[in-house]
Amino acid sequence: MSKLPTPSERFIQGILPENPVYRQLLGLCPTLAVTNGLKPALTMAVAVGLVLLCANVIVSLIRDLLKPHLRIVIFTLTIATFVTIVDQVLSAYMYQMSKTLGPYIPLIIVNCIIICRCEVCASRQGPLAAAGDAVGQSLGFGLALASIAAVREILGTGMLLGIPMLPAAWPPWVIMVLPPGAFLTFGLLLAGVNWIRAWRTNRPQRGN
């Protein structure tokens, strides 16, 4: 059996080499749905991050008690609990934002990034590795969401977080803040990421 990555490796891998959106293509439903503005995208990323961190640590702590055929039930139970807490906190302190995100907050329960991390990392490694993994993957998810949302918001409204970014003469591309804009932006950014990756791996290695 191959050696499992250390906590710091887990952390680094999540951000870019194994980015949940661009490299693993997981969690695309919220990625496409809440990236019409940077603010909802960042709120979503923080919500997913908190749930992922708590779920990963709890699952890691009870990993020796898990029964193989009941593990998914336990993952879902743990995730659902923290999602409910995040949902309640949002509707108590960020009411308008919670209405904007609507059903996508409860839908974090079935976010495959979190179930995937519980399965791949937390149910096999200690709490430190699980926490490092959670933070790394959340940063990667946040980075992906922010990149898509920034492109869509700037091109679609000419503004970023309400600050004008483009000359007033710029006609807003309304399609960018509509659902098709999500597919266009994500497709192009994904192609860009793949292109950079191909270029880096094909480049002659120095010292070889």
């Binding site: 009870i62 029964k67 009941l70 336990i74 009411y95 609507g102 059903p103 659902p179």
Partner: protein, 227 residues
């Protein structure tokens, strides 16, 4: 002899391993402790959430009675208006339904009522605010307070373009949701791909109108925070 002992020990171990508790104890323990934790979160946050919802309701009330523009105008020139919360109870056989509502008035003149009603949607309950004129003859506005309909389809019932169809319509005939454009006085265009969500809202409005029509008088409406 030795064989029997071995067999029975396997048997008893097997019994324990296959028993419901041995399999599920972790699920049960986690469910109970998570449930307790959630109860505490609920207790500590429910008041804040209820206050947020009340706030939202109260900001919607003037526009639901006067329309968006008139309400904005009234707010701009500081026309004082009075919003009094209350409830009206409707007895239907064994069951009594309570409608929370708000009476909107200027001075002594009642401008209209905003009634909170709920009903089953495609997914979960839909909660709406319905603005009506003093005699419930005309719908003056509709706002969706809560819904969990399908994003991209059913949730379009919250869009102004759809819900504003109700504003200014007579309540004499129940609303009917149609797929093709119609000139009849009581038809509402469906949200494309979300006939059930559209019909649910129309049904909630129809039911509410039937229940409250002729019942909104000072005798039947209990003002003050109640129910």
């Amino acid at each position: 002899m030795g064989k029997t002992v071995k067999n029975s020990s396997i048997l008893s171990r097997g019994c324990f391993q296959n028993s419901f508790l041995a399999q599920a104890w972790l699920v049960i323990v986690l469910a109970v402790s998570f449930g307790t934790a959630l109860a505490f979160v609920q207790i500590s946050l429910s008041e804040v959430i209820a206050a947020n919802k009340l706030d939202e309701t109260l900001t919607q009330v003037p526009a639901l009675v006067w329309g968006e523009n008139a309400a904005q105008y009234a707010a701009d020139i500081n026309i004082p208006l009075e919003i009094i919360p209350g409830t009206v109870s409707v007895k239907k056989g064994q069951k009594t339904t309570y409608y929370p509502l708000y009476r909107v008035s200027r001075g002594k003149v009642i401008s209209g009522w905003v009634v909170k009603a709920r009903g089953q949607g495609y997914a979960d309950n839909i909660e709406v605010l319905i603005g009506v004129d003093p005699d419930v003859e005309t719908i003056t506005g509709l706002f969706i307070l809560e819904q969990k309909e399908t994003p991209g389809l059913g949730n379009k019932i919250t869009f102004p373009a759809w819900r504003e169809q109700f504003a200014g319509r007579k309540t004499a005939k129940p609303f009917v949701v149609v797929k093709e454009k119609s000139t009849a006085s009581n038809t509402i265009d469906t949200v494309t791909g979300a006939t059930i969500s559209s019909r649910s809202v129309a049904d909630i409005v129809n039911q509410t109108v039937i229940d409250i029509k002729g019942r909104l008088t000072s005798q039947t409406v209990h003002t003050g925070e109640g129910q």
